[in-house]
Symmetry: C2
Subunit: 315 residues, 2 copies
């Protein structure tokens, strides 16, 4: 049986006007690197969970994406990261919310799943637990980027003026995520994010909430979402796709399209990546663009940003 | 059209051996008081959301129940409370995790829904927001009870001995919750909990996670769960009931029974209360007992603890 991995690096109003060729190339290169990191795991016979974590780590390490290094700032000028992992065979899951310290928040989520009796740990309590775990920590400066700091100042100024946002909102509420089906037919999903620029301290989005931003079940699908998290939570977006497949007999693409389409009119701008156990991939979004990509057994990385065809990596 | 309210005050291995007639009467009286608080709202034409909040507040104020006053302790000997509210017309929701201060955590959840741009706030950030809200705070001593402190010592000793638990586990992971259908056919759910005795600091259970422990949608049902939260999260218990009703055409009771029954073999001991817009109530549990009750237009409070018929309040 084959294997497949799909990823996203955030969705929203990605404005071509504010995009340079260099930045665009950087995003494609970052997506390719993440796809290849996940592919290496799957090609070696590794599990879907490990592949999604490897892909997410690559994006967490890349300051272009809003997760790990390069995460966005809260209204208080701090970094608070959320992440989740879920594997579809036993439906084990782990998640963290409101942490800053672990270089790779997705590994913190995995530690919660594997080494605690709990599923979600947040804030100071999460940090106390993570300090006992074998994961790499970084000082706050590691995560800090000038670009995100400026984005916070712009957002705070916008609020002072009471103005509508004109910014590229994929930079305000980006998220990274990966879903995979491995050679054994096991599914997994991982998601990681800095949240929304200017979010209230303590805000927990959809990413670490199982069934909302992250979900995996071998019997239906694995899903990782990105967008206006509050709406993805209220509509249990990821689990709704699984339910449509299981109970209505819809295919992955039809179910994913329906959920993403229905989120738009209620303000749930965003998108998601999803896979099923047959290796089908869906990458719907209801906004201008979504940083996204997929890679199969042949190792060719396909990536896209806007509403356009995926392009093969020529690197 | 009629109205209906159903509540729970926790589920688990409620042992008759450790129950006294006085304690049993206390639970029935506490459930009755909560039902009547909710009924007063509905009888005055108030919305389902307000009724569920009133019922939950009555149980938060009652130290017999694991929420608000009488919440259980973390492994660090602190109190960290979670709560959520959701209304089914617009699917608005608010939740808090890991807070200690607001006398009624369910009002904190409502404040997040009504006065923030977010859906879930946790820990120190949540407290900073709540301090700006018009809600009543109490000192830590208000919430503290000797009974819960002893339960923590027993649990910590059990862990030191590596023994299996013999304790009444409804006292280890109780939760309170309410669901209602008001005269306009609007549904709502509210849930509040201290979590599990001896939980890791920072642990977030199913109660504040929409779709897991709390859910409301006028088109299907309102649900509030209690039990081993980690499993209710991995199986998105509350939202799964809604999905079965919407996509399989199952009735409320069949859908709720199925979800609760399927949770048992994977370790998801517990139960839930649910209502639909026709006024149907379901109160399934897969363990020895669940503190529960219901009240309709006639104002007669029906309550039960074990696997037994509901009894009418003779108070």
């Amino acid at each position: 049986m084959g294997f497949i991995l799909a990823i996203h690096g955030g969705a929203g109003t990605i404005r071509r006007a504010t995009m340079t060729p260099e930045l665009e190339s950087g995003y494609h290169a970052g997506l390719c690197a993440a796809l290849k990191a996940g592919h290496a795991v799957l090609a070696a016979g590794g599990p879907a969970l490990d592949a999604t974590i490897a892909a997410v780590m690559a994006m967490e390490d890349n300051p272009l994406f809003n997760a790990g290094r390069g995460a966005v700032y809260t209204s208080a000028g701090k970094l608070e990261m959320d992440a989740a992992v879920m594997e579809g065979r036993e439906r084990r899951a782990g998640a963290v919310a409101g942490i800053c310290g672990p270089r790779n928040p997705v590994l913190a989520a995995r530690a919660v799943m594997e080494h605690s009796d709990h599923e979600l740990l947040g804030g100071a309590g999460a940090m106390a637990f993570l300090n006992t775990q074998d994961i790499v920590f970084e000082a706050p400066e590691y995560f800090a980027t000038e670009r995100r700091w400026k984005a916070l100042q712009t957002e705070l100024e916008r609020r002072r003026m009471g103005a509508m946002t004109e910014a590229d909102d994929s930079t305000r509420h980006g998220t990274v995520g990966a879903v995979a089906c491995d050679a054994q037919g096991n599914l997994a999903a991982s998601t990681s994010t800095g949240g929304m620029t200017g979010k209230l301290p303590g805000r927990v989005g959809d990413s670490p909430q199982i069934g909302s931003g992250t979900f995996a079940d071998n019997g239906s699908c694995a899903v990782s979402c990105t967008g206006v998290g509050e709406l993805f939570v209220r509509y249990c977006a990821a689990h709704e796709i699984s339910a449509r497949m299981r109970f209505l007999g819809e295919g992955l693409e039809a179910a994913a399209d329906k959920v993403v389409t229905d989120l738009a009119p209620v303000g749930g701008n965003g998108g998601l990546v999803a896979v099923d156990a047959a290796g089908t991939v869906a990458m719907p979004f209801n906004c201008a663009g979504m940083y996204r990509g997929r890679i199969g057994e042949d190792g060719v990385a396909w990536t896209a940003i806007y509403r356009e065809e995926l392009r093969a990596d020529r690197g």
